[in-house]
Amino acid sequence: MNTIIEKINQALAEAGAKAAAAADAAAVEQIRIDYLGRNGLFPALSKEMGSVPPEERKDTGRAFNTGRNKVQELIDAATARLASADGGSGEAIDLSLPGRRWKTGRKHPITMLADECVAIFRRMGFIVAEGPEIEDIFHNFDALNTPQDHPSRDPQDTFYFNDGRILRTQTSPVQIRVMESHEPPVRIVAPGRVFRRDTPDATHGMNFHQIEGLYIDKGVSMADLKSILQTFATEMYGPKVKIRLRPHFFPFTEPSVEYDFSCIMCGGKGCPVCKHSGWIEIAGAGMVDPAVLKNVGYDPEVWSGYAFGMGIERLAMLRYRIPDLRLLYENDVRFLEQF
């Protein structure tokens, strides 16, 4: 063993002792200066390397590098030890004190559900269409095949303006507006606010939100409708949810159906939410009535299609188990921050 290797081993022992004893950053710095600094031991030793016989150079060089790295490790470890001892920097941490919260906003449950519905239908190729909320009788009723003396036209149920127009009672006039201005095929979804002259209570409001779908093409059948609704139910409430169609009546569809989801609370076994029926009524749908197609200039012998609609408040109340619709319009922050 040559002298250089001896010196290195000795230096490592000394430096180890000094590093263990170092009480502050200055002491650690002194170790660095003594061994690694410009005038320290290792730079000095490197100058002596030339005098080492060639056969020993390889081992000596390896010992030198290992030694120098080892000293650096001792210094780093001592620095880390000192740092943790004084708690990093400054005051001690009380982990139980409240953190400084970042401001996070909240989306209203109705918007959340509307956006979610739109996203699901967009994935299935539906395009969002919208229309005015102050609507005329033609688009809201006449073109939708609503009989002249149908009760829904009654001022008991519909808000009128002095100029004869109304607040739309459904999103269906958007169907008419789109079909009037576009050639088939048409595949749209129309979310929006609608108005009924209902006194607000736990399940009714003067306005609420609907989302409506329409698909007109060649050869569209009730099987297409059923599949879209089942896919929607699955995307919305999970793969276990089943749908059920029941015959119903609407002036603008024939055949007409109402559709139910198997109860998302009990899975269909029966519970108070589904009134022990296992099914939850969602909304109406059907094959677009030939009269409606004729009203917008589509030939019902060539084109057929389906339409469906649903209430967004209802979906939100089911999703978040909200018992009273009025909570959605009261805007208490303790409500809003829950979603």
Binding site: G105, V118, M124, D149, N207, P247
Partner: protein, 799 residues
């Protein structure tokens, strides 16, 4: 409508249980809303014999009985009924029996009554739901085997409440429902035999129809010498089974036939009809009638009445008159069975606010053919229950039987609409089972003739519904969803609105939702509007909610106040919604607005100094700046504004790309008066279209310097009126080379400066070059030049 299972079973054999029947009805479109088992004795009630009766040691009116219920040891029951005598055979509710009452379920448990153990309950008829008799225990036949379940002795009825859609008035009767049930259960439906004695006594002038446009058919006939009185038990029970009250035998028959066949009938007291005849005519303007419920109505020509020779006796199809009805004193009856046109009845019923079982059916449409059959049925039943004899021919005044609709049907078209494989034979079979007439069957189709009770069937699509419904909607297959791009439609503003909402939520605001109808005060809290700018509803729900919101501020104020009163004081709220303006010079009729509101503590979860920090003007300004930054709005500015919504000197206009986008500021004192908060409230109202149009969304990559920056600080005393913006603008215009940023880091005012109307300001200027490291000398020279310029041209005093 209510259906009685037992009544229904008179016309069609029901060989399935109630849940199955209900499911079949619902799935065929007759939606079952509620099921109520009337007179059904609960399980657990058994026949028992009282063996012994002893007085209760601690009660005057209760007895302690030993009762044999057919199994095991006799049980002890404490009973308060007067007739719990030994030897009586009575119904006994054993432990565990559950009574379903309107007030909730009631379970029989082992209990102690005044200290004496009781192991069950002996029941009255009322307690078992069999009658209203509650005078004592129900006494059963003593030959009954003890322990027999009482429910097997009294198999009650089930009332099924269904919702009938307006296109199917034919379902508004037991017979109508039975017709569909026969199809659903694949078993024939049969009417009882209807026989009427021959009578051809002429009755000229008995019936006149002067308004054939409103009255399509009027059948009148006379029955003399009836004995009006209580109805037989079977009739009372039938009516009660669907919730109707018995009145007298003649009236009950008309109600029974109405419910059985769906044809409204009316019985007049012939003696009370002037001229002993009826006229179906339009009312004379101002003519009056007092209806059965005692209301006096003034009529117009648009109302159809059934009058005698002089005055109206009934509001046709809606309600009878008070003076012409059948009473105990009636001996001769004129029986009406008529067909009125639906829309007139509907208009009258709605206008006068009167509806009845008759009007409900007339306004949906009754079966022309049924009017005749129902008349026969009523005659048959009146003669059977009230005696008397038929005393006139069947007077039938009509404007002709309407033609039945003949509908061509293509089997392929039906299949392609419903998307299910149904054979030609099955399609035709479904039609036949629904009592439709099927002719001309070929391999491609058939013709279907719709009977007059199916006025809803007009077109092929209507036939498709019948096939879909009866074949079963659950048998329509699910097929893969074929998403399809219909590219001709371009999506409009929805995405932009979604993005804007998301951005405001990113800033930390909570989204609110308010009604579109507001009261005038709320609307005018937004001082940009005057009363005449508001859009008014013609028929508001209440005068309170009579206008459409012109802006979102009014309702937002309500929400803030509501939250404050509930001690939710820290608020970051917003709404994006449609607002309405009736003054085209101000705004378009419908547009979207964004309203934001801010108040309270910035860090309510923290403590000490941080806890005291309140939101101020600059928080809301900063929120808007961040919003515009997120939206990559290129050019925007804030201009001091004088606006009645905000406190003087605490309001600003927002301009985006040269367009006024809205306002924000601290709310005016009179808008927040009385609010229980010490924190100022800030709000912004912005036009969504302006922001969305300036939302450039994406931006392009700009390279940044990797060389070090050098900073220099400059501090000076300036006039207190000199604005930060003016200093920034000045520095920007002087264009010092390589100036990267200017940062204000201090504003300071002490008493001395204040007295001199001055302030001290300090800025840090940062220089950086894109391609090399700047030398100290370069930076110093540029910095010094700028300092001199500031001193000279902005008249500030360098420090």
């Amino acid at each position: 409508m209510d259906i009685s299972r037992n009544w229904l079973a008179q016309y069609v054999a029901i060989d399935c249980d109630i849940p199955t029947l209900c499911d079949k009805l619902t799935m065929a479109g007759i939606e079952v809303e509620a099921v109520e088992s009337a007179g059904t004795v609960p399980a657990g009630v058994v026949v028992g014999r009282i063996l012994e009766r002893k007085p209760h040691p601690d009660s005057d009116h209760m007895s302690v009985c030993r009762v044999d219920v057919g199994q095991g040891e006799p049980i002890q029951i404490v009973c308060g009924a007067p007739n719990c005598d030994a030897g009586n055979v009575v119904p006994v509710a054993t432990i565990g029996t559950v009574f379903h009452t309107p007030e909730g379920d009631f379970k029989i448990k082992k209990s102690k009554l005044r200290g004496v153990e009781s192991m069950g309950m002996m029941c009255s008829e009322k307690e078992l739901g069999l009658s209203d008799n509650h005078e004592g225990l129900m006494i059963l036949d003593s030959s009954l085997k003890l322990g027999t379940p009482v429910e097997t002795l009294f198999p009650g009825d089930t009332r099924i409440e269904v919702e009938v859609t307006p296109n199917r008035p034919d379902w508004l009767s037991m017979w109508g429902v039975a017709r569909d049930v026969s199809c659903l259960l694949d078993t024939p439906a049969k009417l009882p035999e209807i026989t009427v004695p021959e009578c051809d006594i002429p009755a000229p002038g008995l019936v006149t129809v002067e308004a054939p446009d409103l009255c399509r058919r009027y059948i009148g006939r006379v029955i003399r010498n009836v004995k009006v009185g209580p109805s037989p038990k079977w009739l009372v029970e039938r009516l009660e089974s669907i919730g109707l009250r018995s009145i007298n035998n003649v009236v009950d028959v008309t109600n029974f036939v109405l419910m059985e066949l769906g044809q409204p009938l009316h019985a007049f007291d012939l003696d009370k009809l002037e001229g002993k005849r009826v006229v179906a005519r339009r009312a004379k303007p101002g003519e009056e009638i007092t209806t059965l419920d005692g209301k006096t109505l003034t009529l117009q020509e648009r109302h159809l009445v059934i009058a005698d020779a002089v005055k109206p006796m009934a509001l046709a199809g809606v309600m009878g008159g008070e003076y012409s009805g059948v009473t105990e004193a009636t001996t001769d009856v004129l029986l009406e069975s008529a067909v009125f046109f639906p829309s007139n009845i509907r208009a009258t019923s709605r206008e006068l606010g009167i509806s009845s079982d008759s009007s409900y059916r007339y306004e949906r449409g009754v079966d022309y053919d049924m009017a005749s059959l129902a008349s026969d049925r009523a005659v048959q039943l009146i003669l059977a229950t009230a005696g008397g004899e038929l005393a006139s021919e069947k007077v039938d005044v009509n404007s002709g039987r309407p033609a039945e609709k003949v509908i061509p049907c293509r089997f392929d078209r039906i299949r392609s609409l419903i998307g299910a494989e149904v054979s030609n034979e099955r399609i035709a079979d479904i039609f036949r089972k629904l009592h439709l007439k099927v002719d001309d069957v070929t391999s491609g189709g058939c013709t279907v003739t719709a009977p007059l009770f199916r006025l809803d069937l007009e077109r092929e699509a209507d036939l498709a519904e019948e096939v879909a419904r009866i074949n079963g909607l659950d048998r329509i297959p699910e097929i893969p969803v074929a998403a399809k791009m219909c590219g001709s439609i371009r999506e409009d503003a929805y995405q932009a609105l979604q993005t804007l909402r998301d951005r405001v939520i990113d800033l930390g605001f909570y989204e609110c939702m308010h009604y579109s109808m507001v009261n005038v005060n709320s609307a005018l809290a937004d001082r940009r509007f005057r009363r005449e700018d508001l859009i008014e509803l013609k028929n508001p729900l209440s005068l309170e909610l009579a206008v459409l919101r012109p802006g979102l501020l009014g309702e937002m104020l309500g929400t803030i106040e509501r939250n404050i009163s509930r001690r939710n004081l820290n608020l970051r709220l917003f709404e994006v919604g449609k607002v309405f303006c009736g003054n085209a010079e101000l705004f378009p009729e419908e547009r979207f607005e964004l309203c934001m509101a801010l108040s309270g503590l910035r860090q309510p979860e923290r403590y000490s100094a941080e806890l005291k920090e309140e939101y101020d003007f600059y928080d809301l300004k900063g929120a808007l700046e961040s919003l515009f930054e997120l939206a990559n709005v290129k050019r925007y500015k804030f201009v001091a504004a004088d606006d009645a919504r905000f406190r003087p000197g605490r309001a600003a206009e927002v301009w985006i790309e040269g367009k006024k986008a809205g306002h924000f500021g601290e709310l005016a004192a009179d808008l927040t008066r009385g609010w229980r908060t010490s924190y100022p409230v800030f709000a912004a109202q912005l036009d969504v279209e302006v922001i969305v149009n300036a939302d450039h969304g994406r931006s392009y990559y700009v390279p940044f310097s990797l060389f070090p920056a050098t900073s220099r600080d400059v501090a000076f005393v300036a006039d207190e009126k000199l604005e930060h913006g003016a200093i920034l603008e000045f520095i920007r215009r002087s264009k010092p080379a390589d100036l990267e940023s200017v940062r204000l880091f201090d504003i300071f005012v002490d008493d001395k400066l204040k007295a001199e109307h001055k302030k001290s300001m300090a800025y840090q200027l940062t220089f950086r070059n894109a391609e090399r490291t700047l030398t100290d000398a370069e930076v110093n020279s540029r910095f010094e030049k700028l300092r001199e310029k500031l001193a000279k041209e902005l008249k500030v005093e360098l420090r």
